[in-house]
Amino acid sequence: MKEELFASGRNIPNIDPTLNIWHWQIPSYLFLGGLAAGILFFAGVFTIMGKEEQMSATVKKAPFLAPIALILGLFLLFLDLKHKLWFWQLYTTIRLESPMGWGAWVLMIMTPISLIWSASYIRELFPGWDWKFKFLKSFETWVIKNRILIAWPMVIYAVILGIYTGILLSAFNARPLWNTSILGPLFLVSGMSTGAAVILLMSNNHEERKIIGRLDILLIVIELFFITHLFMGDKAGSEAQINAVNLFLGGSFTAPFFAFVVVLGLIFPALLEIMELRGYKVPIAVPAILILLGGFIFRFLIVEAGQMTRYLY
């Protein structure tokens, strides 16, 4: 390995005063991780509630996207690594205070659970499917019988995964915009909302769409509250945090953040969903796609702006 030695703590290219190391891979991964967490959370919760049949898109169809999102996300994380061949050391170094360690382990648990979950519904959605080997068939029978047993850890780990996508950022104590614990819940709620949007896109059952639509409106309201909370917390913080949040309150990120995330990604789709629940004919794909785009842009803006913020001047 060829590393450079810095004698000074200041003016390190790409690290100080502004960070310039995270590009499109990280926000894309955060989006995919949050999306998978949201989908698996709803699948697990409605299974525990015994509503597999009424909520079939939530429990059976949408989870097929989760392992695809997780594996693609993991691949993006791998692309981001500088020393790619050393990725396995994340699994041999156990450090409770390391968010990357947490993430690596949560993904290590969530990806197989999501694969097993979707695999157990393959025969129901594709009746011609044959598992070929006897041990696969008997494993499938066991999973089908014990779905609730699997749903519990799936729900719990989905919450951890959703929170972790925010904690990955907030653990950076050198970046004032990220260095707030509200990012964890904010990213969790945003991920759940994007998961709900995917379910809305996939469901053709009116009742199911109504339940998920209502949940999504609630999630959007909570998300707006958390965003306000993030801004108010920073505004009441140190000078560095005030400068950080000013990027969104008058600075260069204001227009894209409020236009694409707050208005077109949250308030407008919530309004459309409310109108749909009130009986207006709304093509549900429109609010769903807007929520997905809003969630995607939200992560890009937070990652990009956070890297520009700093404590020392």
Partner: protein, 175 residues
Amino acid sequence: MKKMNFDGSQYLNPYLGGVILGTVLLLSFYISGRGLGASGAVKNTVAATVNAIAPKHVEASAYYSQFAGGDHQPMSNWLVFEVLGVLAGAFLSGIIFNRLKLKVEHSPKITSRRRLLFALLGGLIFGFGTQLARGCTSGAALSGMAVLSLGGYITMVAIFGTAFAAAWLFRKNWI
């Protein structure tokens, strides 16, 4: 007041629509410091797209280099955001009055294909014209007239005068 229909047949009184549009224009000046516009958003989007694909061409072009390349940020523009709002507002209005349907509106005497072809041709000519005139019906005429700019009045007379004169030639597309 007349009862409103929600079966897709209801349209706003055009005089009231005009007053509302004027109020929007006033608010636009008050909030953003600029008037309304449509062609500007298209121009900036085109310039940003060309800059993303062929930055060297933008640098060399006297026209594109005014808006894109170098320090220019064509998408960070009030008109781009305003047009997104127009789309969102129109979508809402379509939902409320139950008019949200994918269709081509045309005279029963012509085909959809002919209508789309003429719309495309008209759009191309109009788009070209807006760049010569530095604005379209909203950006140059409406916003210009609102601030008593002589160019705004000339643009308005030219756009509607030409359309009035040329309408006879194309009347068979409608009546």
